[in-house]
Subunit: 142 residues, 2 copies
DNA sequence: GTGATACTGAGACTCGTTCTCAACGAGCCT
DNA sequence: AGGCTCGTTGAGAACGAGTCTCAGTATCAC
């Protein structure tokens, strides 16, 4: 009873996985595409998107939506972890500090939801960006 | 950079704010646009996007990125709260259960980030979808 | 009224992503 | 070898969400 039809580990898919494993940042699909073209010139962006979707579906990668409307980012670290995202440069740092089980259970009880997972993302300034200060006032209603 | 000038509360912006206040769900910009057109026919989508961005910037609304690649959603409940998102119907329920300050401080210390906020989103099945088991309605929800 | 400027709607545009489609190729039969 | 099936590919069109541009309008201070 094959769960799905057979999948091939093609050179293109292998290259995408290699790029993701080698990345210590959290590249976007476009960045993965750029890097993969070194190892697999001629690869199409559609193939990269397909490979990334496949890696996510098979549990070999995590897809991060950093929630600021920018492109999705990918992470070869598939263990449970969260992220801190810099509001200035967009860099995402890994955070390994899970939400207490008790809190999840309490929220499930109060909301009536069956909780299957969560995404926790911190916003702020990364150490690099803290040194260069700036800010902006959105104004107020007349 | 030029100094910020005064903002006007125009009928269009008022209509957008009213729609948001009246919504008990978490409408997308497109849904807000649809509803606003009842009160303000002829309003353009660009105006709705601009008004929503302004409401978010001035603290009159919250923008939610549900992290699944779908459109951003808006919430007139501006007090600190999180969301539980149903994986089947897409509905988002409000969760009022803040992350402990100590945990935020610990993560700031470990990551080196200056944490200005966070987004916590639970995934799971809402009470309705738990009972109706085999739902596959990707469509709208009231 | 006049001038400055904030705001508007329409639509073109960008961006990230998915879809379509014809061609390719690995594996399996004869 | 030849033929077949079907997963995979690259190119580019298409899509949805959101932003930008621009000319016209509204509102304010004087």
């Amino acid at each position: 009873m094959p769960e799905r039809t057979e999948l091939r580990l093609t050179p293109q898919r292998g290259a995408v996985l290699e790029v993701l494993k080698a990345a210590d940042d959290h590249p976007t699909a476009a960045e993965v595409y750029e890097r993969v073209r070194v190892a697999a010139p001629g690869i199409g962006s559609a193939t990269v998107y397909r490979a990334l979707a496949l890696l996510v579906a098979t549990g070999h990668a995590l897809e991060l939506s950093l929630g600021d409307g920018t492109a999705a980012r990918y992470d070869a670290n598939t263990s449970r972890h969260d992220h801190a995202v810099c509001e200035r440069c967009g860099r995402a740092a890994d955070i390994d500090h899970p939400v207490p089980d008790g809190m999840v259970a309490e929220i499930a009880r109060r909301s009536g939801f069956t909780i299957t997972g969560y995404d926790l993302q911190f916003r702020g300034l990364c150490p690099d960006c803290q040194t260069t200060g700036a800010g902006q006032d959105p104004g107020r209603w007349a």
